[in-house]
């Protein structure tokens, strides 16, 4: 169990590094799917099989497909990859990366020092999650339904491409 956890964690970290350093966005999304799959394995090892299934279905399935559809609608050409290569130069990424790594080192030190109690190793199955979700968290479920509704309305409103209305006297006369 320990070894599988460490292998999955290594795969997740490596593929996430590949995501944020790729120039072609489709390649980055493929690595993102690998990262989500590895995290699903981690969830399964942690004793959360329902969360692992949701990770594969919603993250690796729905969200990545949504991003791919939008990239297809944008119709990016090969110049976009060259432009990405031009944007991502070492002087841009070295500073923020070093600062973030310092923060991570502090976090690792804090977690390593603190005394933690061991995992019980008990599997929390779908039944308990469902009873909790529709019992004490019912208000949260209703609120997230409203959030999804506002997401749909917002995406429709923002995604609509308005026609430019130019007054006919302000238009340039055609030669």
């Amino acid at each position: 169990m320990q070894v599988t956890f460490y292998i999955a964690a290594g795969v997740a970290i490596l593929s996430t590094i590949m995501v944020i350093t790729r120039f072609n966005i489709i390649h980055a999304l493929l690595y993102l799917v690998v990262s989500f799959m590895a995290l699903a394995v981690v969830f399964y090892i942690m004793g959360a099989p329902f969360a692992a299934a949701l990770e594969v279905i919603v993250y690796a399935g729905a969200i990545v497909v949504l991003i791919i559809f939008v990239i297809m609608m944008l119709n990016l050409k090969s110049e976009a990859v060259a432009q990405e290569k031009k944007w991502l130069t070492p002087e841009v990424y070295v500073g923020p990366a070093i600062l973030c790594i310092i923060l991570l080192a502090e976090l690792i030190y804090t977690i390593g020092v603190g005394n933690t109690v061991g995992i019980t190793g008990q599997i929390v199955d779908v039944k308990e999650v469902g009873q909790s979700l529709y019992g004490e968290y019912i208000l949260g479920v209703e609120l997230s339904g409203m959030l999804l509704m506002s997401g749909i309305v917002g995406a429709y409103h923002l995604g609509r491409q308005k026609k430019k209305v130019v007054h006919r006297f302000l238009e340039k006369p055609e030669e």
Partner: protein
């Protein structure tokens, strides 16, 4: 399972969150920034799963489901904004969208 795994699960969540933060900071393409925000949300969900597994309570997975819902709503609105920015500015450079008049 031992005590090591709760610690290393939290460390994995922290590392993934930092990678997503680096991605938001260093990329100029808006789509890459959105993907990095997804990575950060996923790492936060992993932390909740680890905590729920540590105390063998279902609350961690419930919070993960809420984070999942929020990520889905956020990515749909964000992609609609990206479409609108690309339609108006003809570029995906986030520095190009620095004026309020668009």
């Amino acid at each position: 399972m031992s005590e090591l795994q709760a610690t290393s699960g939290l460390l994995l969540a922290g590392t993934l969150f930092m990678l997503g933060l680096i991605g938001v900071l260093i990329r100029r393409n808006i789509i890459f920034m959105l993907v990095s925000v997804e990575i950060m949300l996923n790492a936060a969900g992993l932390a909740f799963i680890v905590a729920g597994s540590k105390w063998a309570q279902p609350d961690g997975q419930v919070m993960f489901i809420f984070i999942l819902t929020m990520a889905a709503a956020e990515v749909s609105v964000g992609l609609a904004l990206i479409l609108q920015i690309h339609h108006q500015l003809k570029t995906l450079d986030s520095d190009a969208a620095n004026t309020m008049k668009g």
